[in-house]
């Protein structure tokens, strides 16, 4: 009975031949994640995924900040679909949760209002002389990793287990609002029981923490933070989550949304500066990882190639708990092999 009902909370995820669309902000704040996703899909799983260099924004940030009108967003989305069509793909994988929400919304509107679809085709043709097909399958990359989580497990060098105690690592999972709160049926577990990240954690040996504010927004929310004076509201949301998770002593936070990832990571520094408060016992802060970084880390990829040195909260204590090998001398080594200047150390957050 339980299994039958759970089937209703699943979604269709394509098996192969994906068209990848990169995120605007992830490449700045978590620059190794997208490269790790492509590497995992191509090298570990042997899948075909297209990374087209002509792609561009989905307008998500501007759209949700009321700067970009829907007609513009719809036409920009149509151009992205035309790139996919041109490359001969039908399965669209947008890296960002906001993009995933935007595509889901645009397609929903096209399905319910064919005139809008005609309008989008007309606008795109007039502007670029391009045509497009609507993707057969749109999924978020976290859905793809979730689908293949048990295929990846035998290839992993490490597990989510504390090597000193032998107990599973305790993980807070945070899912972006635009993943399943706008269109619940498009998320694994829908909006009620989101399981996309929890499934990965459980499959790879960790323990998911169920804390009171688990489903609370991270505070990103576009309009909330765009104006500097309003950011007090944004950070108050994040603080509420940290206060709620603090008694459960999480080893790290796992997210699938660029905004959540950024805010849960960076606001820890801001709160520490403002209130001299960190939400772990030792004063390091709680590391915030993307699901690609976590998968890459467990598969044995070099943490510095995954971009861990660019996080606000540094992850060395987590590496030590899992037993991940890393060379501290190579932390700030550039691709050319030359050592880059070290960033300033914050006084309020501990770093090794």
């Amino acid at each position: 009975m339980e299994k039958r009902f759970w089937n209703e909370y699943q979604k269709e995820i394509a098996d192969d031949h994906f068209f990848y669309e990169r995120s605007c902000i992830r490449q700045t704040f978590f620059p190794g994640s997208e490269a790790a996703f492509l590497r995992i899909l191509r090298n570990e799983l042997g899948k075909d995924i297209c990374d087209n260099p002509h792609q561009h924004t989905c307008t998500g940030i501007g759209y949700h900040s009321d700067v970009v009108p829907f007609e513009t967003t719809m036409t920009v989305v149509a151009r992205l679909f035309s790139l996919m069509t041109e490359c001969g793909y039908e399965n669209y994988v947008p890296s960002c949760v906001t993009s995933f929400g935007v595509f889901s919304e645009v397609i929903e509107k096209w399905e319910n209002n064919p005139k809008l679809l005609e309008q989008a085709r007309q606008y795109l043709w007039e502007a670029t002389k391009r045509e497009f097909n609507i993707p057969k399958n749109i999924v978020h990359p976290s859905d793809v990793i979730y689908k293949f989580r048990f295929d990846l497990k035998p290839k992993m060098k490490y597990q989510l287990v504390n090597r000193f105690t032998g107990k599973p690592l305790r993980v807070v999972e945070h899912i972006g609002c635009h993943y399943a709160k706008i269109f619940p049926e498009r998320g694994i577990g829908k909006a009620e029981f989101p399981y996309v990240l929890a499934g990965m954690i459980e499959a790879w040996g960790g323990e998911v923490i169920d804390y009171p504010e688990r489903r609370h927004c991270c505070g990103f929310g576009f309009r909330q933070y765009l104006v500097q004076e309003n950011r007090g509201y944004s950070i108050a949301n994040t603080k509420k989550k940290f206060q709620s998770m603090e008694p459960y002593e999480p080893d790290f936070i796992l997210t699938n949304c660029p905004g959540c990832n950024m805010f849960l990571d960076k606001w820890q520094y801001t709160i520490a500066e403002m209130e001299h408060k960190t939400y772990d016992k030792e004063g390091y802060g709680i590391p915030v990882l993307t699901y690609e970084e976590l998968a890459g880390l467990l598969l044995g990829y070099d943490p510095w190639k995954l971009g861990f040195q660019l996080h606000q909260v540094q992850s060395e204590p987590l590496f030590n708990k899992i037993g991940i090998a890393y060379n501290p001398d190579e932390k700030y080594k550039g691709i050319s092999g030359r050592l880059l200047p070290r960033p300033a150390r914050p006084e309020c957050l501990r770093q090794d």
Binding site: N230, R231, Y233, I235, A236, K239, E273, M274
Partner: protein, 130 residues
């Protein structure tokens, strides 16, 4: 501290575990009908003082129960103790007694002798001078 151009907004979420309820317990002891209130607002509608000031019994009642005492004493002093609220209450809450006792509890007055505790304390410290 570095200047960020904003501060962390204070949440308005109430955590009853963190609230000290001695004052509420004292009020319930003195005016047991306090807990019968259903928040209908009849008292506030009938209030004479509310026509001239921002006095609002229902609001004060809720704030006191939530242990949000800031500024309540000033609010309570606007009541003229006319007792119209007492007449309209459908639950028979002794609203006038409620207001008098809220004033006394907030002013830290000894509710047995109705003398300010500060005064009593100084007299007790003075020994047999009386």
């Amino acid at each position: 501290m570095k200047k960020f151009g904003f501060e962390i907004s204070k949440g308005r979420q109430l955590n009853f575990d963190e609230m000290k309820s001695e004052k509420v317990e004292k009020l319930l002891e003195l005016v047991p009908s306090y807990k019968w209130c259903i928040g209908c607002g009849g008292c506030t509608a009938a209030c004479s003082a509310a026509g001239f000031t921002d006095f609002n019994i229902r609001k004060i009642h809720t704030a006191f129960f939530r242990a949000q005492y800031e500024g309540l004493d000033e609010q309570l002093n606007q009541c003229m103790l006319c007792g119209k609220c007492l007449l309209v209450c459908p639950r028979g809450v002794n609203t006038r007694s409620l207001i008098i006792n809220m004033r006394r509890i907030l002013a830290n007055v000894d509710t047995v002798t109705w003398r300010p505790q500060r005064e009593l304390k100084s007299k007790n410290e003075g020994g047999n001078n009386e």
